[in-house]
């Protein structure tokens, strides 16, 4: 073993364990940091993909508006939690660019009279698309205001004729580790599953969403179709849906499976019920300046008038 004299070994030759174990990340951080410090005006965001997004021509539904300004499209389509493509906020956009959304089949089954395999066009084309501006609140305590395009889930579900045994509706996301690299690791159990009580699913607010900002949903937002349940934490709004099942029992949900103490079945936005590890009293409105304080979180994300009636008599600290 060649032992060099101390002063002939340069400090730069020492590999810190952080570098050894976190080479790529360290290099990305360090070079990013160096670049940012030395090259003013460096574009931190990747340039907008010049793919032609399909315009949907949906009429705005004036009944669903929010007092606050819309979040930036760049943020809505670039700051996402979609662990199927990676757990970083910019991973979904980065890794879903080749995700195929056509052809797309949804299996409908369970306690209904018209089960079957429906393709995306069958499901969506009989309905008139509308644009609704909703508040979106993530369980991580950040929020956005988003103009979604979709159809009331109730209208779609009625076509399958759920029968009296259908007390809940279960949903499932695609399971495809080849296209969805995040699924190669069991960060969550795959496929991602979610569910609603039948009255929540049939509620006028619940939107089967196919677009955002007037265009077809980008892959990172859950294309080709996803739920938006605006009075619940964002993870209930399941993305890239491939299965809809009417069930009699409360269906399993992925985050509840992962950490039952932290994520309940209902997951209604509730400033009075803290996450065990952080407070839910306030939220950061994405896009606000540094010097804007966090906003107070509203019960049911500001949709209390519309949905509080679904939960009368229910202890919301127990059924969270």
């Amino acid at each position: 073993m060649l032992i060099k004299k101390p002063n002939s070994i340069l400090p730069s030759e020492i590999t810190t364990p952080e570098m050894y174990f976190g080479r790529r990340r360290f290099l990305r951080d360090a070079s990013g940091a160096m670049l940012i410090a030395t090259v003013p005006g460096l574009a931190w965001h990747s340039p907008a993909t010049a793919s032609a997004a399909v315009q949907l021509g949906a009429a705005a539904n004036p009944a669903y508006k929010v007092d606050a300004p819309l979040s930036a499209k760049e943020d809505v389509t670039g700051y996402n939690n979609f662990y199927e493509f990676g757990t970083g906020k910019s991973d979904p956009k980065e890794y879903s660019q080749d995700f195929k959304t056509t052809p797309w089949t949804i299996e409908v089954g369970g306690h209904c009279d018209k089960p079957g395999s429906y393709n995306y066009e069958d499901l969506v084309s009989p309905h008139k698309l509308e644009e609704r501006i909703y508040r979106f609140r993530c369980v991580e305590a950040w929020s956005m205001v988003v103009p979604w395009v979709g159809i009331p889930l109730a209208d779609m579900l009625k076509r399958f004729a759920p029968n009296s045994k259908a007390k809940y509706v279960a949903f499932e996301t695609l399971n495809d580790p080849v296209q969805m690299p995040g699924q190669r690791r069991p960060v969550l159990e795959w496929p991602y599953v979610e569910g609603l009580r039948i009255d929540e699913a049939m509620h006028p607010l619940t939107l089967m969403t196919v677009g955002v900002f007037g265009e077809q949903l980008p892959t990172q937002n859950g294309a080709p179709l996803r739920l938006i349940v605006p009075w619940k934490y964002g993870f209930k709004s399941i993305k890239s849906i491939v299965r809809i099942t009417f069930t009699e029992e409360e269906p399993p949900t992925s985050w509840n499976n992962a950490a039952a103490r932290e994520y309940g079945f209902y997951s209604n936005v509730n400033p009075g019920k803290d996450h065990p590890r952080w407070s839910q009293k306030k939220e950061r409105s994405i896009g606000d300046s540094f010097f804007t304080p966090k906003k107070p979180t509203l019960m049911f994300n500001g949709y209390a008038d519309e949905v509080a009636g679904l939960y009368t008599g229910m202890d919301l600290s127990r059924y969270f």
Partner: protein, 208 residues
């Protein structure tokens, strides 16, 4: 190492350690930190604090392995930069995240285990930063000073637990820090004493 070489080394280290801070500040002012810049500031200052604190703990094991003493002379600077980033991390949280809402901050410290642990790490580092200069080493005496500064291990451990407990599902990153720290904690175990004891016991039983 010659005096000039050491001066140059110190200069390079200063530049290296201040760069993340400058880059974050620049990024913040240029609006280049993405959709949730406060989260980025909080996270990055925390990670650099943890990296530097663990780097400090690496110095002695490396010296034992290589006999390089010049690293020991840089350890104070590394530690103080670590403390600097801890202060930046805490300031970001108190100012930009909570807007000096003392009630919420107090509630966080008391009710959220990961913040309790993180805040404890900060408190533990204060006496270490305060006794880092030569005058304090003299006042405490080498023995007491060394004993006090062993708390750096506890602080680093608390930092790793803080990170582990705040993550929602993806434990990879905090586990990397945990394993690196684990290596250095193990390196500090009294191996020689333990091995000698074992040898002595083996000899004893052999001669019986």
């Amino acid at each position: 190492m010659s005096r000039t070489a050491e001066r140059i080394l110190k200069g390079v280290l200063h530049l290296l350690f201040i760069t993340p801070f400058v880059a974050l500040l620049a990024g913040a002012f240029m609006g280049k930190l993405g959709a949730n810049p406060v989260e980025v500031l909080t996270h990055e200052t925390g990670e650099w604090a943890l990296r530097l604190l663990i780097l400090v703990l690496m110095v002695t094991p490396l010296r034992k392995l290589t006999g390089w003493n010049w690293m020991v002379r840089q350890r104070r600077m590394i530690g103080l930069y670590g403390f600097f980033y801890v202060v930046c991390h805490l300031t970001t949280y108190v100012w930009l995240d909570q807007f000096f809402d003392l009630e919420t901050i107090f509630e966080d410290i008391v009710k959220r285990p990961y913040i309790t642990v993180g805040f404890s790490a900060f408190l533990l580092l204060i006496p270490l930063a305060a006794t880092s200069n030569n005058a304090m080493v003299k006042r405490l005496g080498a023995r007491r000073w060394r004993a006090l500064h062993r708390a750096a291990y506890v602080a680093a451990l608390l930092g790793v637990v803080h990170f582990l407990w705040l993550v929602k599902a993806d434990l990879r990153e905090p586990l990397v820090y945990a394993s690196v720290l684990g290596v250095f904690l193990c390196a500090r175990l009294p191996w020689r004493t333990m091995l000698d004891k074992r040898k002595a016991n083996a000899l004893k039983s052999a001669s019986n």
